[in-house]
């Protein structure tokens, strides 16, 4: 990225051509862990959108004051603070969802996409553009996770967002509920994504 990237190009880049999951292969751990129910995936990725936007904003605002040596430490501190805030808010106002997500909210801290964008983008760019980058990257992440969750919930439970959509005679695939299935589904999603890109002749 050279000086002042265009917001439109950034959107396309973060959602598709440079998608954090299937191009950068970042944030895989959570893509495997929380994708067997659409509702949980949705809440978790919304939390990531918020945390990434705020983290990029904060890093960008204070970037000129951060000494190089402790740069990454400060980023981690910022990310961790926002994630803990999200966790506390969920526990206070959405206790059922907080219980369903369990330890995964706390694990947002270790989501490599967040630190990746803070380090690669927010450290060099102005605040508003950094927020935009964080939010669009998180949407790219959200899109892929929702696609995986859609397949897993549909085949694993026969439901979508908890509503029965498959006919009664449908036998749920138990493997889709278990973590290993996320590997297969993620692999297939990456495959399809890349195949479409290749057909488009996207710049490498």
């Amino acid at each position: 990225m050279s000086s002042a990237p265009a917001p439109g190009a950034m959107l396309r880049d973060n959602l598709w051509t440079n998608n954090p999951i299937f191009m950068q292969i970042l944030g895989i751990c959570s893509a495997l862990a929380v994708t067997n129910l659409l509702t949980n995936t949705m809440i978790m990725t919304i939390a990531v959108v918020g945390v990434m936007g705020m983290t990029n904003l904060t890093v960008s605002l204070i970037k000129s004051f951060i000494p190089r040596k402790v740069r990454m430490m400060v980023q981690t501190l910022i990310i961790a603070s926002y994630v803990i805030v999200v966790d506390i808010i969920l526990r206070a106002y959405l206790p059922d969802i907080s219980r369903a997500l369990g330890p995964y909210v706390g694990l947002i801290i270790t989501n490599c996409i967040i630190m990746g964008r803070a380090e690669a983008f927010a450290q060099q760019n102005p605040p508003l553009l950094s927020v935009w980058d964080g939010v669009t990257s998180a949407f790219g992440y959200m899109g892929v996770l929702l696609a995986i969750a859609l397949i897993r919930e549909l085949l694993g439970f026969g439901t979508l967002f908890g509503y029965q959509v498959m006919p009664e005679i449908f036998e749920p695939w138990i493997i889709m509920v278990m973590p290993p299935s996320a590997f297969f589904v993620l692999g297939i999603v990456i495959w399809i994504g890349k195949a479409i890109m290749e057909r488009e002749g996207a710049p490498a």
């Binding site: 204070i62 004051f65 400060v74 603070s81 805030v85 526990r91 206790p95 278990m178």
Partner: protein, 202 residues
């Protein structure tokens, strides 16, 4: 001041840490009451549900819970509640599931012949499989169930639940045999303890 100097780095780190930790402390302080309230309500609802006592909302549940006594029957700590001349008991149970501890409440009549209900508060079972012990259909099977030889056995029916109050059995979860067996073991261990405690008292 040189931003790469040792002194500045230490100062900056200290200030940044202080600011963020202070912000977290404030958020924590502001929501502490709400979080404690949520936990309390969850416990109250669980105890009342296990006893089969009906309530309208959280506030009503908390009101009813004021009349629930915590008693010791032969050294066993139980919740006791009187409703329509009937004495209801509930006990907090816990035991090992497939992946981690399972905790909740089980309710039983004073004559220890029938259960009143079962709730699951905490578990680490596989979501969608063993995790289904926290679904209403699974717990409703333990509503007013007759104990056969002081026990409730796991039967294997269609995985839809066994709602026959006199069968003395509950239906396990399809694809989660280990969790179902763990529930059978935990529940019966606690039923035995409760019956012994209540039997000894009469």
């Amino acid at each position: 001041m040189n931003k790469q100097s040792f002194g500045y780095t230490v100062l900056f780190t200290a200030v940044v840490s202080f600011v963020f930790v202070l912000a977290l402390a404030v958020v924590n302080e502001v929501t502490a009451d709400q979080i404690q309230f949520n936990q309390e309500v969850r416990l109250v609802r669980s105890v009342l549900n296990a006893m089969g006592v009906e309530f309208d909302d959280d506030e009503h549940a908390r009101q009813l819970f004021n009349d629930v006594e915590q008693v010791e029957e032969n050294d066993l700590s139980l919740y006791r509640y009187s409703q329509n001349d009937e004495v209801l008991y509930a006990k907090q149970y816990s035991g090992g599931g497939l992946w981690g501890p399972i905790r909740g409440h089980i309710g039983i009549r004073a004559d220890a012949e029938r259960t009143l209900g079962l709730t699951v508060l905490e578990h680490d079972e596989t979501p969608g499989l063993g995790g289904r012990i926290d679904e209403p259909w699974f717990q409703e099977q333990f509503r007013n169930k007759r104990l056969v030889d002081g026990r409730i056995r796991m039967g294997s029916r269609d995985g839809q639940g066994d709602f026959d109050e006199d069968s003395g059995e509950f239906d396990g979860i399809t694809g989660a045999t280990s969790t179902s067996e763990a529930m059978e073991r935990i529940i019966n261990n606690h039923l035995e303890e409760i019956s012994r405690a209540l039997g000894g008292a009469s």
